[in-house]
Amino acid sequence: MKWVIIIFTIILYLLVDNFSMSAQTIEEIQSLANINEVHQEDLYKNVREYKNEYDLVFSKAFLFYKKFLSSQDASQCSFTPSCSVYAIHAIKSQGVLVGIINFFDRFSRCNSLSPEDYPKNYSNNTLIDPVRDIKYHIINE
């Protein structure tokens, strides 16, 4: 009797399982593939466009830093945009020399000791300091 029950259960299991199983259709596989495809906004789209060789070198250096160094740690910069983004933005808009000088000024201000001088970005608790030229005018990307 015991064996009858076991065999019956196995046959029943196989029958039910066989009827209930069906292969995935092509549409289902495609829809699953779409789920995994994440459309991420390219944050550094402007950086990938360069006008000359200097621009190319700094752009590549920036992208290398962002991909392999900066990404390994939490953001430590006091500002939005961060110092590295500020630097590449300044170099691209003001040229290599002035851009680097502007970056050094920004870098020396990168501490959280003067929150009263900047508006605050509450989403990530940083201070908002867009790239500005020497006349304190904002330089748009």
């Binding site: 002035v98 680097i100 000088i101 502007n102 970056f103 050094f104 000024d105 920004r106 870098f107 020396s108 201000r109 501490n111 000791l113 003067s114 001088d117 500005r132 030229d133 020497i134 006349k135 304190y136």
Partner: protein, 276 residues
């Protein structure tokens, strides 16, 4: 008897039709719009006045309050669009509308157009002329001219004018920082220009960063002579911090000046929010 009662009952229902009013009638809309305007609910008042102006094209008060409502909301471009539609001839527009038009031009920072309008519009009252002239000069940051207008029109006791005059007087004490002097100071002592511009913490950091980089560079050259890579690398970094500090000092002075101008602009905005 039952039939009679039924007839009376159904007839009585018809009274409810007489009891109803058209709540969107012109008169009711006016009352409601005026209530909203008095309650300072300007966005809803503007919507109501839009309907009134559509229903009654001769209602001047509704037109004026419609424009005022848009000005109060801060939608100056729409207020201007309405003025241009309802009163296409600027020289012939009523004085109340001309006031609103001046406010729109000033708030849209079209100060030259505001000056020209003030000059060519004939019906402005002396007080209004003084008020808007003073406003234009203050918004244009011509402090001396603003003070001159304020002193010339001391007999005017209009509240907004007095508030603007107080701001104009306040500008006498403004002491801007010189960006060139700030840069020059930072050339002598790194960070000193930033201290002069009121950002002493930034100045201290500039001095620290430049000083450390120079010291490291000096150490490198001192130990290994002119061929020291350490010395050259730190020398480059020191040069970057030093140049950045000069650049930053110029910017800091401009930032200081901009902050002052901003604070005055906010005071002007506050006065202008209450001008009717």
């Amino acid at each position: 008897m039952n039939k009679l009662l039924l007839i009376v009952f159904f007839l009585s229902l018809s009274f409810s039709f007489f009891a109803q009013n058209d709540i969107y009638s012109l008169q009711n809309s006016k009352s409601y719009a005026d209530f909203l305007y008095r309650s300072m609910d300007y966005p809803n008042a503007a919507a109501e006045y839009e309907r009134i102006v559509f229903l009654d094209t001769t209602d001047f008060v509704a037109k004026l309050r419609l424009i005022k409502s848009y000005n109060k909301i801060g939608d100056f471009s729409f207020a201007r669009y309405k003025i241009n539609n309802l009163f296409p001839k600027t020289e012939k527009m009523p004085v109340d509308i001309a006031r609103q038009y001046s406010i729109v031009l000033i708030r849209q920072n079209e100060l030259d157009s505001a000056r020209a309008f003030l000059l060519h519009y004939p019906a402005f009252h002396k007080n209004d002329k003084a008020l808007f002239s003073l406003s234009i000069e203050l918004f244009a940051q011509n402090w001396e001219e603003a003070r001159r207008i304020s002193e010339q029109s001391q007999s005017i006791d209009d509240l907004s004018f007095l508030q603007l005059s107080a701001i104009a007087k306040q500008t006498k004490d403004i002491k801007y920082k010189s960006p060139l002097l700030s840069s020059g100071m930072s050339m002598l002592v790194p960070g000193l220009g930033k201290v002069y511009s009121g950002y002493w913490k930034d100045g201290l950091f500039s001095l620290l960063f430049t000083g450390i980089a120079v010291w490291q560079s000096y150490r490198g050259f001192d130990k290994q002579g002119i061929n020291s890579a350490y010395g050259w690398i730190y020398g480059g970094i020191a040069l970057g911090f030093y140049s950045g500090n000069i650049y930053g000092s110029y910017k800091a002075a401009n930032k200081y000046n901009e902050t002052i101008n901003h604070s005055i602009y906010h005071q002007l905005e506050e006065v202008y929010n209450n001008i009717d």
